[in-house]
Symmetry: C2
């Protein structure tokens, strides 16, 4: 289910990767990005449903998603699960595990996916020749804090319909940044997973999708979503709260 692949000279590197404008190299100059090329020595291919890592795993790396999508979820001792994120290409997974060099969440592939392995000690070594990398990585961690805070805000102040609207808008915006349609896409996660992520039940999510469709905001057929009225969805969500 998990297959490690060595990166060879003829493989794609950061400098030739389509995602360089979104991923770790975001905002770096071309000759800085070339220096990044040595960083990723390995990739991991994941089949749908496979784990990139489990809670408790020893770790000294983070992972940049190259293709596909993942979810991360916490699990407490009673087995209760909370999904904390759905990750798309160009996004970084595993930054919550750096405290004790031990993963605090599970990361599971929502579809066949591939990630780039970024070892932290390699990164620290590279920082000496590429000082811009240090603040860069800090920014990415800061972004992760933000993402999580936004989710807290969403759960704390929004009603169910607003949360789901905000969720759709957030997905739409991120997919559009990747060059996909912002109005038509496929949900890679189940109603149950969406509900868990937003602090709702799967029934509530299902009902809301049906209602949004009835009201002409979206069209939905299984996991295919088409956003018909972006403005109305924005009004409903109340602007922010990614």
């Amino acid at each position: 289910m998990q297959k490690r692949i060595a990166v060879t000279p003829e493989s794609t590197h950061c400098s030739t990767c389509m995602l360089s404008s979104l991923c770790l190299p975001i905002g770096m100059s071309p000759n800085e990005i070339v220096k990044l090329d040595v960083l990723v020595k390995e990739r991991i291919r994941l089949a749908k449903g496979a784990a990139l890592f489990y809670l408790g795993d020893q770790t000294d790396a983070v992972y940049a998603i190259r293709s596909g999508s993942l979810k991360t979820q916490l699990e407490d001792s009673a087995g209760q699960v909370q999904i904390t994120g759905f990750l798309l290409p160009g996004e970084i997974v595993g930054m919550d595990g750096l405290l004790e060099h031990r993963q605090l969440s599970h990361a599971l592939a929502l579809e066949d996916s591939e990630v780039c392995v970024i070892r932290l000690d390699d990164m620290d070594r590279l920082c000496e020749h590429l000082p811009v990398l240090q603040p860069q990585f800090r920014r990415l961690m800061s972004k992760e804090i933000q993402r999580s805070h936004q989710l807290v805000m969403s759960m704390g102040v929004l009603r169910s319909e607003q949360r789901l609207a905000a969720f759709l808008l957030n997905l739409s915006q991120r997919l559009s940044a990747l060059g996909y349609s912002s109005t038509e896409f496929l949900l890679r996660m189940s109603r149950d997973e969406i509900g868990n992520y937003l602090g709702l039940t799967l029934e509530t999510v299902s009902r809301l999708f049906s209602r949004f469709a009835r009201e002409g905001l979206i069209r939905i057929r299984q996991r295919e979503v088409q956003i018909l009225d972006l403005g109305a969805l924005r009004d409903l969500a109340g602007v922010d709260c990614g």
Copy 2:
């Protein structure tokens, strides 16, 4: 309300600070900590209610709390507020603002407080002579991600009574790490603020406190809390979820 104080040679430094076992230097060796001493050149004193920073403020620093306590809160364009954390001495504030060098939350003092200013470019320079600092700071950011994820989990899966119990336990545990009593303490925040943080209303919080008291779990008089039955509180909270 906000008073900046230069750190002089005779001031307390990291190496002589009581909090060194909890704060930025956590886990460092004494001679590493001595090297940290040059990092903090300035402190800020805050009166109760004063802001350390506001959303939108330009920033290139993070802040270590030396005394007192702060809250951080997001605010959306409609003015809706979500408190994302209550911070105690030894904890770091402002790590969510590193993405755009611009604060994304407000930080307000819950009581008279003092914070140490840690400029990021100073830190980057110091990293050359103190390589352990880099992973150290990453760990602290990772911890912040974790804190936020725990809050998400709390809001997503716990019922109101469990959230409040978990909140009390978390405070208790952090205060005890600071050397204060784990069973008797003063809440520095209002019912409203607790409710906002946990995604509840102030009335719900108040009712739950009354109920906990009626059931013999705690004693509460205004903001003075005494935990009478830690075990029962833990059972109620369902173990984790900080």
